[in-house]
Structure formats: C-alpha cells, structure tokens
C-alpha cells in the first residue's frame, strides 16, 4: 500500500429513514490504491472511517449481483468498476428508479415480485411421471448445442438491476415488468425443454410488459454481463405479436 498514496474524494449518498427526510450527501477523503475497484473504496470507508455506511455486496467478482450503484450518475457494478476510471471525485448513490431503504441500499421487493410473474421455470404440459418418455436413459432431455445457444445469452443475468436503473420507461411507468424479468421469461420461452410459451406470451401481452418497452436500449448499454435484455424484450415483443396473430387465424384450445 505504501507505494501509491493517491487521495480521492468520495461523495456518498446517505439516508437513514429514522433521521432523514431525504437523502443527503456525505464526503470522505481517502487514500486509494491503484488496483482498487470502487467497492474497495467503499469498504475502506466502512472499515476505517465510518462504519455506519450501509451497502450490499458479497462475491466481489461480478457474479452475485448485489453491488450495483450509481457512480457519477451511471449504473455500475462497484466490484467491477476500477477506481482509476475516476479522477479526483466520485459520487456514489443508490440505484436509480428504486425506492431507497437506507444509504446505498434499495428496495428490491418490487423486482422480486415482477421476477416471479413471468414464470421463470420449465413449464411442461404433462405431469412429471408421464414426462419420462421424453427423457433419455440418463434421465435428461436431449438438447443440441445449437438449441442451447438459442437462449444461453439470456440466461446469464445476475439480477444486478442496473438495467432497471437505466431504463427510462421504468422511471415513469410503475407497472412495467422491466428488462431483466422479461428477458428471463423469454429465456424460458426459447428453451427447447419448455412448453410454457403460450402462457408466457399471454402474460407478455398483458399490462406493463413487452409493449411498454420503447426500445430505449439503455438496458443493454449498462448490462455488465452482456445479456442484451433489449434484444430479449423486443424478440419477446415480436414473438408475442406473432403468437397473437396465429391466435386470430387458428383459435387456441381452452383460451
């Protein structure tokens, strides 16, 4: 640590619902190391300067999805973003478009609710026992590498919520289910093992789903895992429309 003693001004948004009406900003001046990520600076402050800061983090390797925050107004994973991207000051705020619980912590429950709405699991028409005939002798479904590639990209989402913090529609339309959740539903729709397309497509045509997206593409710009949720949402849009048109021509059973 001795070799580099660069000082950095860190402005952190603070909010304690028991004491503050609205979030306020607190400044810290700390020595930083050139190979630190932004998360290291926050942890340094928490350990050495002000233990009352609250933030979420765990894996520090960009895979658990807990550490998303606004850095100078841009949604970023703090454990992935090098401090060297910032010169003298850095402003750290909780993710935009979410209610703020405390300091850098946002309320995720709204997201968890939306996440479940798209039925993010394999839907099969038959009961499990009868399904066995589709399985091979090892008990697995057969799926070619090409079939896997169809949805693989959309299964890489770590639920970091950066896309929600970036999407202009989320900011204005509370019902919008949003990029990551729709991408997840679309991922299951594309999975060769799944038979829930009709169900999900009718969910997708409901309020606050695919048609709310105005293809701002912001979600894909900020996604740290290259999920390209904008692609997923808009493919889902197209698929839901095609499915609707098919329904006009050949009326669906049961629907």
């Amino acid at each position: 640590m001795a070799e580099s003693k660069k000082m950095l001004r860190v402005e952190i948004s603070r909010f304690d619902p028991d004491r503050d009406e609205v979030p306020k900003t607190q400044e810290y001046e700390i020595p930083v190391q050139d190979d630190w990520k932004v998360l290291d600076a926050i942890n340094y402050i928490k350990d050495e300067v002000d233990p009352s800061i609250s933030h979420r983090w765990s894996c520090r390797m960009a895979v658990c999805g807990s550490c998303g925050m606004m850095l100078n107004g841009e949604p970023k994973l703090t454990c992935k973003t090098p401090l060297s991207d910032y010169d003298e000051t850095i402003k750290i705020e909780p993710l935009a478009n979410f209610p703020i619980v405390r300091d850098l912590v946002v309320d995720m429950d709204g997201f968890m609710d939306k996440f479940r709405k798209v039925k993010p699991w394999i839907v099969r028409a038959k009961a499990r026992a009868e399904d066995m005939e589709d399985l091979n002798e090892k008990g697995t479904f057969s799926q070619s590498p090409d079939q896997l590639a169809t949805f693989k990209q959309f299964s890489m989402c770590i639920n970091c919520l950066l896309c929600y913090a970036a999407c202009p529609v989320i900011a204005n339309e509370p019902e919008f289910i949003g990029p990551a959740a729709i991408a997840l539903g679309h991922r299951y729709n594309l999975d060769s093992r799944d038979e829930g397309q009709a169900e999900r497509n009718s969910i997708f045509r409901g309020e606050g789903t695919v048609f709310s997206c105005s293809f701002a593409n912001e979600c894909s710009e900020v996604c740290p895992k290259n999920v390209d949720p904008a692609a997923a949402v808009n493919q889902a849009k197209l698929a839901a429309v095609v499915d609707w048109a098919k329904g006009l021509v050949l009326p669906r059973e049961g629907a």
């Binding site: 339309e173 045509r205 105005s214 849009k237 429309v241």
Partner: protein, 119 residues
Amino acid sequence: MKHLLLKLEPIIWLLFGAGLSVGTMLLTGFVLVVGLAIPMGLVPSDALDYERAHALASNGFGRLVLLGLIALPLWKGAHHVRSLSVDFNGGDRDGAVGVLVYTAAALCSLIAIVAVVRL
C-alpha cells in the same frame, strides 16, 4: 381506455413497426425527390407534371404505395409521440394520450384511403 389500448397493442405495434421500416424506406426516396430535388430545381419539374404523376399514382400498385407512404409514418409518429409523453409526463395519462394520437392517426388513414381511391 387503457384496457382497450391493451387489446389493440399488437396491431398498433405492427403498424408502428411497419412505419419504422417500410415507412422509412419509402419516405427516403420521396422526400429526396419530391420534397427537395424538384422544388430546388435539381430535377426538372415536368418529371412529375399532372399527367405523369397521375399515371404513376392511379394504378393499383401506385395507390398502395401512396397509402403506405401516408399511413405508415402516421402510425409510427403517433406511437412515438405517445411514448415521448410517457418519458416526460409519466405513465398516468398514457391511456388518454394513446387514444388521442391513435384516433388522429386512424382518421388521417381513413382520409388517405378516400384520397387514393378517388384518384
């Protein structure tokens, strides 16, 4: 109102998409020549004197292209105006704005049908 819109959403989106793609493709040549080149004298104006224009427009294909040229940009425009309104005013009045812009687009599209049929 929101409910009705929701039912129509797939058609609206198809029309929007057509405006975005086909509309853009048609408009490019059209503004280039009719909107700019002819008025600026880069192309002699008799290229589109009444006889030739009418002949081009009044066959079946011509009427169809003209209808697309009018209606598709209208729908693309209406849909964009609606989402702009969400971006600036929030989603609360989305239903009302939607009905307003789509009604305008639908009316103009109807007039367009009359116009091309009348040719």
